[in-house]
Amino acid sequence: MKPGERKLPELFGPGRIGRFTTKNLIKYGACCVSNYNERDGRISKRELARTRVIAGTGCGMITNQGAYPDPLGEGKAYFRQIAIHDDRFLPEFEEIAGYIHDAGAVAIQQILHAGRYGGIDLGYCIQPSVVPQTLPHFRPPREMTVEHIADVVRQHADAAKRAIRAGFDGTEITSFMGYLLANFNSRFTNQRTDAYGGSIENRGRFMRELIDGIKQATPDHPLIVRLNGAELMDRWGGNTEDECFELMQQAVDCGVDMISVTVGWQEAPESSIGRDIAPGHWNYLAARAKKLFPDTLIAFGNRLPDPVMANECIRAGEFDFWEVCRPLLADPDLVHKAAEDRLDEVRRCVGSLNCLSRLFRDLPYTCTMNPALGHEVEPGYRITPAEVRKKIMVVGAGPAGLECAITAAKRGHEVVILEKSGRIGGNLVAYAQNDLARADDLASIVRHYEVMTKKLGIEVRLGVEATPKLMRGMLHQFDVAVVAAGARIDRDRLRIVAGQELVLDAIDVAHGRVPTGREVVVIGAGKIGLVVAESLASKGAKVTIVEEDKRIAGDVMPSFKWRHASWVEELGIATLVQTRVLRVTPQGVDVASEKGGERHLAADTVIAATPRLPNQQLFHDFEWMIDEVHGCGDALVPRGLDAAIHEGFRLGARL
């Protein structure tokens, strides 16, 4: 037994589902489709390479991502979702089942008919009733006939048989997060008056038929059902939590082998898995399921990213299997690190929802924390031993520089980081200090880099500013300089503003380097401006944001814009868009609206959060002083955390 396994004995104890044993109680959840595949539903090489990594995560049970079961694609939710409605797709499924078995895990294939969120290639989606969409991403609904329902049940059963023929041990159907099964179960989308609607018994009929159909088609193989413990749609006529558990009872009565408890619909008006939800928040749903259905396996993992916490939940009898997906996208070695008692090395999922933001843009998903995700098939993303060991100087200990440094060090290079401030982390430290969602998620990234720089023997010289003079004193000591010096607020934009010398820099404010008053005007409503404004408002300041653009949050990730908009509202922050600053005085700010009219905003503090400029001077300074000069992150083009980490990784992987 490995040292970490001794510390987490419940999690790493063996399990059983149906006639299959599992080496531990960790289930890799299908959670979301990758969008890496062919447009016709065939599994791509890119997907196979990714799945090989997933198979190697060390989970006792691995669920392959959801495949749509119908030839028309009514069940297809994503442009590059995989299909399982025909035998021609089977060779790649066989390959995936093989990877999973080679890794000693139980292989489960999810069948995903998206219902209300489906028909992505069609002009419509199918639902129990014609309830219009609340999100414009999805297609207008058509009501299913009874014959159509029977066809869909048969398609699921055929898909299950196909999965088993491909070598999978069991199958899974899913209501998460608002798919066809959920549409029938929920009163929000099921307002039929026939045998499939009305009472909860009737609404559950489709689910019971699916379970019966699949069980009859694959009698010797376990079937898992993912069901909402809470839809978060109840205010608008959806199911209450009590009704959700009544539906689980129906699934239990039908002999389902495992219930995976999930939370929320995509269109629910509140958060379920974002960074603003505390880890463990939804555990009570799993505990209730386990208490009600002690003889049925319960899997759970929504917003539960920590194996130590999962171990405790299993010990307390709250669920049987820890179902985990996004934390394993962020760090595919999470389970191995837990087993080896190296949890301090884990790259945590920080709940940025970059993955889902991209899916809603119809792009393949990627991960802020794992630059290699989705690129496993490409040699340029592999960390391979360096052919020639180089001595590398990285200028700047922000995320880009740190990522580059640890990647290069893993390849065998000797790396020294020069950081002009007294600590590592760059502006991410300031972001974490002001973040209202979950500061610890962001701080965990810095902690990860602290651990890894130490473990990899990277020398970090703090309080050292890289300058041409410094470099002249170190000529021929380094082979490579990586400029990762970040970006700065573009104060030149305020040059035309009278009194601009009274304006504080948002980055200085965020780092706590300068004091602020009680009446604040923030110039710029991008991410930095918003974070500073929200933080100050949460501490009691009266804050107004002035933005020249039409909208706030222009550079914020799509799945997080709503969160900032909501905080601005909740904290009473006034926002003036299409408005420019005319002058700053000791009494405040005079602004002019594009619609016409000038006004004075009283303020004792004015903060510049205008767009940023890259710190690129060192590229020119070092050009004739060192063999190779490279750059990454905001020093090239100021963007967000994911771009910084990804570029740092890519550069480190090829130096």
């Binding site: 009733s129 414009p136 109840d234 995509q266």
Partner: protein, 166 residues
């Protein structure tokens, strides 16, 4: 969840006239938000007690055959002449509403909105959407809504234009 009913029965004709005037003033005041809307674009607002979105095709078809004044009222917001024209129409179910977007307000929320001065209506609408007291349905795809010029308005209401897995 049982449908909410208004605390007092409305004096329908007068209330509708007042509501039309209020919404017209609201849209006139914030005309810039709707400047990009194509003529023919239309939104609707119905009270929750009058909403039967999930009635399904069969019931909706029956209603379509017999839409009359006894149907619940829908405030219709039509884009025309660079602005929005407000009118009241009978709401005969979602399939026949003929709108691009439909706001469904809990009865109390609608009453609250219509008691506000026109400069406070859209900010209050935004808050009520966030609180879930006003629900919002779309009848066009993302691309169609963008082409029809809705992006500014939806953004001003804080609605996730591209989906919001949270």
């Amino acid at each position: 969840m049982p449908m909410e009913t208004p605390a007092t029965p409305p004096s329908r004709t007068k209330d509708r006239r007042d509501a039309v005037a209020l919404w017209q003033a609201t849209f006139d005041r914030d005309a810039a938000l709707f400047a990009d809307l194509r003529p023919g674009a239309r939104m609707g607002l119905v009270a929750r007690s009058g909403w039967h979105a999930g009635a399904g095709r069969r019931i909706a078809a029956m209603r379509a055959a017999a839409v009359d004044d006894s149907d619940p009222p829908m405030l219709a917001f039509d884009a025309a002449d660079g602005g929005i024209r407000v009118d009241v129409r009978p709401f005969g179910g979602v399939e026949h509403a003929g709108v691009d977007l439909l706001f469904v307000a809990e009865d109390r929320a609608q009453a609250d909105l219509e008691a506000l001065p026109c400069d406070a209506v859209l900010p209050a609408m935004k808050r009520l959407l966030r609180e879930g007291a006003v629900m919002f349905f779309v009848f066009r795809t993302k691309g169609e809504l963008q082409d029809a010029g809705y992006e500014d308005f939806l953004d001003s209401l804080g609605l996730a234009f591209l989906g919001a897995c949270r």
